[in-house]
Subunit: 435 residues, 2 copies
């Protein structure tokens, strides 16, 4: 008898976890991702801030799921999904499915101001991270020979928009990079001139954590020299300029950490979406009206059985994958959504690192800050980073950076990429790579 | 009193070595490179074959020369050199010099067939290496879903042109990658179908070494399954096709390891050049007619005082740099070229690695092959790799690959680069990175 065919779109935390747990004897599974690797997103900001190399936080999907029965992996991209005909159009073929899992995650979102994307890149992909890294390192290289005072200040200014975990981690990492690593490298750049400004619309950073944690993070950021502006709304972003009420900030680098939204494919499904393009799933994570279709991870909008709105974080994505895999393995896919077990999110806690020995963490009512939170952060991220090789290399890179105050990946791979005006604003003919 | 100003163009082995050795108390030195990092070229083929990440073989120039007196480092590119006016035009400024050191190295050379460059990339830059890596990994991804027998064979075929060290190392590394690392990852790809063909016009590989070494290398390559074609001249290269006498080889990846030539800037100097654009320097490495201009490294054509033609290898570049730095530090720059000490090359030996436990090495009349040569190769490359951090990480990556038969950097960073027809021939719309 032919086994039922499950098609999984996306090899992020949810897609990988589902494929690990699904019973390959009973189902044929096809996993599709545009990339050949799974990316450990929580450390991507360290690639952007020159701490780690890309392969150190990426693992080939085929390696992670090596030897899994009944699984086929395709490097391809979904371009059209027809829920009624139960088929998905990829770039290179069209696939029929019995069950579909939508797990293609989030993209950087600009709350309707998509024209800002060119001037203020977000941090969701490898390309984002390497571009940001190169653009910031290159601005320092230019500052080194810049004779104009104002222009040099502009080159050394980085604005980070959004005081959530991404914004806080980026701002902290860049402040450290500027203060320790780069300051020693350049002779004409005064570290005092380099400036990181963090802009947050609300009245505190890390708004999803306890107030005391927000205050601790704010102190830690300020101790690193980050200029944190709370209650500050961005009015406009243009090439090298952020406009806030009453001020125009000129900055060579502007980074967007203020929001994400669901992958635009959700808008083509013809199902009801919430703000940000997320899918309003049933309690069992199925898509309303399509009992054989489930959504997992960052594209899901759900208030769970306990009344908690499930956040867009990797533990939630993995828990959803586990939930749906158990559903399949237990045969519940034959039941109606209402008969199936409802998903409940188990909050493992939340943490953010601000810099060397600086972090905040909370697990239920237990809170940590400073060095101990930072150690906990390191430990948790090493444990979840996939692959023994990567764990060892990343641990070594961290230890070395800790001891020397140096970041190891201060490499401008490919200066020609900087030509792209969304990251670099120089009209300057840029050095080409190689030849 | 103003110190004499030495301008150094290029931060390869020669440029870095010179800057380390020059007396910064007596000279002002400006070092210019298009990149912000020094690249350890001898390991670049391991980036191409998925063994290492780029930052692991690159080190920021500013870090290497950190604290050096009298040194200014510019990330910029020479676009015009006027030897008579003693000035160099960079992209962002023009610099006057008292003494000039030309050390900008070699580029891939096609012996007048520059139209082949699009179809058969060489391996000189980071971009070359990451493109080759991605193109080969991507061909395997395509082969996995390919239903057409001939097309699958084409996707799994890699042709390496040139049986010198670069060609031999690339061919060996790709044969290993295909046989061990990739074979296990794919379910529809038969490892037996994957093919690496090495084409050499002469009657042996590694023609610069002893005949017995060439034979050992040939045996080692064949043991890895490489199809070595000796006495075979390439007649034409087109998109995905190499034409040799009586045969048309179709291959998804064609790599050029058959030759390099001096950087094209040498042709603008108005001095006498040899074949391949190299500068015919005086015995002291100065440029004929310009006592204050020296050339170092791969752009030099010289038969030294002992009658040895100096090869284009990193030890020669470093020895030249040392020679010229001593000349400056000892005041000999005030003498005429004929009065200055002549350069003599000290041949430290030569080695090439073919794969896991396979290598050849010769030092004068002492020869090694197999495992012992391979250990010697590992040791020498670790010693010369710049930076303690990189040494440790690379050693670990090698040990891990040795134990697991897996290469750690099998990452397609940015599939959109593959759109470039010089590396990929697919007209296929390629998966974009991110979003």
């Amino acid at each position: 008898m032919k086994k039922p065919h499950i098609l999984v779109l996306g090899a992020g935390f949810a897609g990988i976890e589902f494929c690990k747990r699904i019973d390959g004897e009973r189902f044929d599974v096809t996993l599709v991702d545009r990339q050949n690797h799974h990316l450990f997103q929580p450390l991507l900001y360290q690639v952007a801030s020159s701490g780690l190399a890309v392969p150190e936080i990426a693992q080939p999907i085929r390696t992670i799921l090596s030897g899994k029965k009944g699984l086929q992996i395709l490097m391809d991209e979904a371009v059209g999904i027809d829920l009624r005909a139960k088929k998905v159009e990829l770039r290179r073929q069209t696939i029929q499915y019995d069950y579909l899992l939508l797990a293609f995650g989030a993209v950087t979102g600009y709350f309707g101001n998509n024209q800002w994307a060119r001037h203020a890149p977000g941090l969701k992909t490898v390309k984002d991270a390497t571009r940001i890294r190169q653009s910031i390192l290159y601005a320092y290289e230019q500052a080194e020979t810049c004779e104009d005072d104002l222009e040099q200040r502009r080159l050394l200014t980085t604005v980070v928009i959004g005081g959530g975990p991404t914004g806080v981690e980026l701002a902290g990492a860049f402040a450290e990079l500027a203060r320790h690593s780069l300051a020693r490298d350049f002779s004409n750049v005064d570290p005092e001139r380099s400036k990181v400004i963090l802009i947050e619309a609300g009245d505190r950073v890390l708004g999803h954590m306890d107030k005391r944690m927000s205050e601790a993070a704010l102190r830690q950021l300020r101790a690193l020299g980050v200029d944190v502006r709370l209650n500050t709304r961005v009015e406009n972003i243009d090439e090298g300029v952020v406009e806030i009420e009453g001020e125009r900030i000129e900055a060579a680098n502007i980074l967007w950490g203020a929001g994400v939204e669901a992958h635009p494919l959700t808008r083509t499904l013809g199902v009801e979406l919430s703000r940000g393009g997320k899918i309003l799933v049933e309690s069992d994570l199925s898509v309303p009206g399509f009992d054989e279709v489930f959504a997992l991870g960052d594209i899901v909008d759900l208030v769970d059985a306990k009344g908690v709105r499930v956040p867009g974080v990797s533990p939630a994505a993995m828990q959803m994958a586990k939930h749906v895999a158990s559903c399949f393995n237990g045969g519940c896919f034959e039941k109606t959504p209402a008969e199936r077990k409802a998903f409940t999110y188990w909050d493992k806690g939340t943490m953010a690192t601000i810099g060397r020995s600086k972090a905040v963490a909370e697990v239920k009512s237990f809170r940590m800050r400073g060095f101990i939170a930072w150690l906990a952060w390191l430990f948790v991220h090493l444990v979840f980073l996939i692959g023994f090789r990567n764990k060892v290399v990343v641990l070594f890179q961290w230890a070395y950076s800790y001891l020397t105050y140096r970041k190891g990946a201060r490499i401008i791979h490919s200066a020609e990429d900087l030509d792209n005006p969304s990251v670099s604003k120089e009209n300057d003919p840029l050095p080409r790579v190689g030849e």
